[in-house]
Symmetry: C2
Subunit: 96 residues, 2 copies
C-alpha cells in the first residue's frame, strides 16, 4: 500500500475507458451506438477500438445489416479482468 501502482495505459484513456465501461454492461454494442454514447468521432473510435481489439480486450465482429457494414463489439474475459484490475488499481489514487 505504499507506492502507486501503474495504471494500465490502454485503459487510462478517456475514450477507451468509456468504450470498456459500455461493453462491461452489455452483451455487445454496435459501432454507431458506441460512437453516440461516447460522442467520439468515427475516426478516433475506429482507432481506439482497434487498439482494444489488438490487446485482446474486446472482440470485433464485422458483418452486414442489410447492405450496410455493421461493426459489433463485445468485451472478452481478458478485457473484463483488465478492467477490474484497472478499477482496483485506481482506488489507490482516489481514496484517502
Amino acid at each position: 500500500m505504499d507506492n502507486f501502482k501503474n495504471l494500465d495505459p490502454l485503459l487510462h484513456s478517456q475514450l477507451r475507458l468509456a468504450i470498456m465501461s459500455i461493453l462491461m454492461n452489455v452483451d455487445s454494442a454496435e459501432f454507431v451506438y458506441i460512437k453516440e454514447k461516447t460522442e467520439a468521432t468515427a475516426g478516433n473510435l475506429s482507432v481506439q477500438l482497434d487498439k482494444l481489439s489488438q490487446a485482446g480486450y474486446i472482440k470485433i465482429t464485422k458483418s452486414f445489416k442489410g447492405k450496410k457494414p455493421l461493426t459489433s463489439c463485445s468485451i472478452t474475459k481478458v478485457g473484463i479482468s483488465a478492467f477490474e484490475k484497472y478499477v482496483d488499481d485506481l482506488k489507490q489514487y482516489i481514496n484517502p
Copy 2:
C-alpha cells in the same frame, strides 16, 4: 446519467493524479518526497508540478534547506475541488 462526462485532462494523467492524491492527504510535500512516492524522474516531475501549478491546483514554494534548494508543494482549494470533481466524474466510468 446518459453520456460520459469529460474527465479533467489535467488530472487524467497517472503522474499528476498521483501527485494530487499525495497532496490531498498532507499539508505539504517536498519535491524529493513526491519523486520517491511516485517513482517519477525529476524532469517529468518538474514539468507536471509546473502544469498543476499553472492551473492553480497546487502551490509551489521554493526555499532552502540549509544551503540546498527546497521545493515544497501543497494543494489549493481549487485543486481540492478539481480532484473531487474528477473522482466524481470517474465514478460514471467505473460503476455499472
